[in-house]
Amino acid sequence: MRLFATVMAATALALVLPGPARSAEPIRIGLVLPYSAGPYVPLANEVGDSLVMALEENGMEVAGRKIVVLKEDTTHKPDVAQAKAKKLVFEDKADILVGPIGSNELAALFAFAAGSRVPMIIPNAGDNEATGDKCSPWVMRTSFSNDQIVREMGPWMIKQGIKKVALIAFDYNTGHQLMDGFKKPFVAAGGTIVGEQYPPFGPISDFGPYLTKIKEQKPDAVFTFFAGPPATALVKQFSEFGLKESIKLTGAGWLISPLNLPGEGAAAAGVIGILNYVPAIDNPVNKAFQAKFQAKYHRTASEFAAQGYDTGKLIYAALKANGGKTADKAALVKALHDVTVEGTRGPLKIDPKTNNIIQDIYIYEAKKAGDAIDFNVLSRIKNVQDPPNGCKL
């Protein structure tokens, strides 16, 4: 009986006294990332950890409201990704969703966010259509579109005297988008494509037969897109099969990501990449970010980490500009459109016409620096913005 009375009294007190949590609901940011399975596990961690890092720099709080980051694991499956997004929004009351990493999960998350009018930010997946003819007012992208990454490479190559290029990428949507995105401006600038190969998409990465064929095509350079372990295999085999002697290896910069350099070693020296980020970018935000990331994780922050960090900065800036209000989702989207932040990649702004980011693109070379490999920025193309590509916002 005494216990009962005590419990009742405590309950009554709790109801009467305003707890600190009751003063303001926290702002909830829901990360829907492939944390446990598939090839993007390391990328999910780079993006998620760095996003949190950017929010922590601002005290995890804006306009008197706490910021809470909720993490859900998509297990690399589109249906799970969508179910987790629904849980985040309907049960956990997330105000903004951030995801996914790979284009495989994009359609499922996109459909949910667009249909339920939840602001969602894509921190990596590059499918052109997501900010092109299938764009939605609710889905924004802080990473890149595939076209945006490679568009400037062809004209730059022509200036360097590289006229004949052979292409190789896996036979899937992203592979074709990146090769097509390179090809059109390159050919328009006077370049010739001397061969195109699209091996079946899969983790098997014996490039021997394809590299032998490239030798016969006698290009000045190869332009390619591979990421993760196949990228390491390609860079190494390009050197082993002797192509490096006479042909320049170039590609979308994931080919020589900081995540791949330890495996690629000396074979990466001389490879040229084009990407929205490279650790060697010389601006104060990037230098501070790299210093902090390296102190914490003892490795160089990759482009994925940079995208996560910039996404966190952009979300914070928008929340601050909006006075920490999240109830009106349309106003929140407008705030995300209105802010410009200085990110690791330079000035960043979400384009209200397409919902894709406007950012600088970098062309750079991996070079030997003692025993390690370092990057040398060759060219910086400022404020690269996508044409609407059928998007009517």
Binding site: S36, A37, G38, P39, V41, P42, Q197, Y198, P199, P200, G202, P203, I204, S205, D206, G208, P209, Y210, T212, K213, K215, E216, G228, P229, P230, T232, A233, Q237, E240, F241, G242, E245, G263
Partner: protein
Amino acid sequence: MPDPASLVIQLLNGLQYAMLLFLLSVGLSVVFGLMNFINLAHGTVYMLGAFLGLTLVRATGSFWGALALAPLFAAAIGALFYAVLLRRVQGESAMKQVLVTFGLIFIGIDVVRMIWGDYEEAIAAPALLADSVRIWGQLYPSYRLFVIALGLLVAIVLWLGLERTRLGAVVRAGVDDRVMAASLGINIEAAFFGVFCLGCWLAGLAGVVAAPVLQIYPGMDVAILIPTLIVVVVGGPGSLKGALLGSLLIGMAETFGAVLLPEFASFMIYAVMVLVLLLRPGGLLPARPAA
């Protein structure tokens, strides 16, 4: 058409892939020929060999140590599979064997995920073979020449063993006519167990040998299982020479298909299989002539 120097390199590429297929298919083929036993989990042993190799390379830093030890572990795991499970389904219907060994594939992938994680990994070629050599003016990775040499060496040793030793005679007799051999007092069960373990050893060897060329990842077993089964069918079950010929045919078809007819690359080896089966339903060099 490729120029002559490139043709030589492509032939080497095909030969290298063929030797990997041979290491995998020969054990499977002879086990099938001896006992009509269908072991779909053969690829699982290959995958375990590769991952055990990875762990040994990381622990000892020596590729050669991994190459020597990992196949032994793989053979031991194969022997355990056999003693605990496979012995019970031996002599049962083919459907039962397929279902049990198919189940082992899924268990194998999940066990590898639990122990090694869901990443793609690679083992670096040993320092001795990390460079390339010049063949006809073209650079070719030394390690791949080593794979070819090792495959040929294994083929020769197996052939000598099968043709020139008493154990080989027992195995040949078992493949030819199991009942007759058994009635002559030959312990077919023991011979079968020995061949099964040897097959697992070879699969484990293939796993380590493949690691510097292909990536290793959970599911690598399923990716290689289909070409391996096609090699067994094309070559003719139960036959060493058949496995070798089938491997060469499929290895070359895959390599040249990828560069000469890229649109049909993923279809090429199936086309070869259909063609062979239409002309020689028992395979090219079956151990037993078709009844």
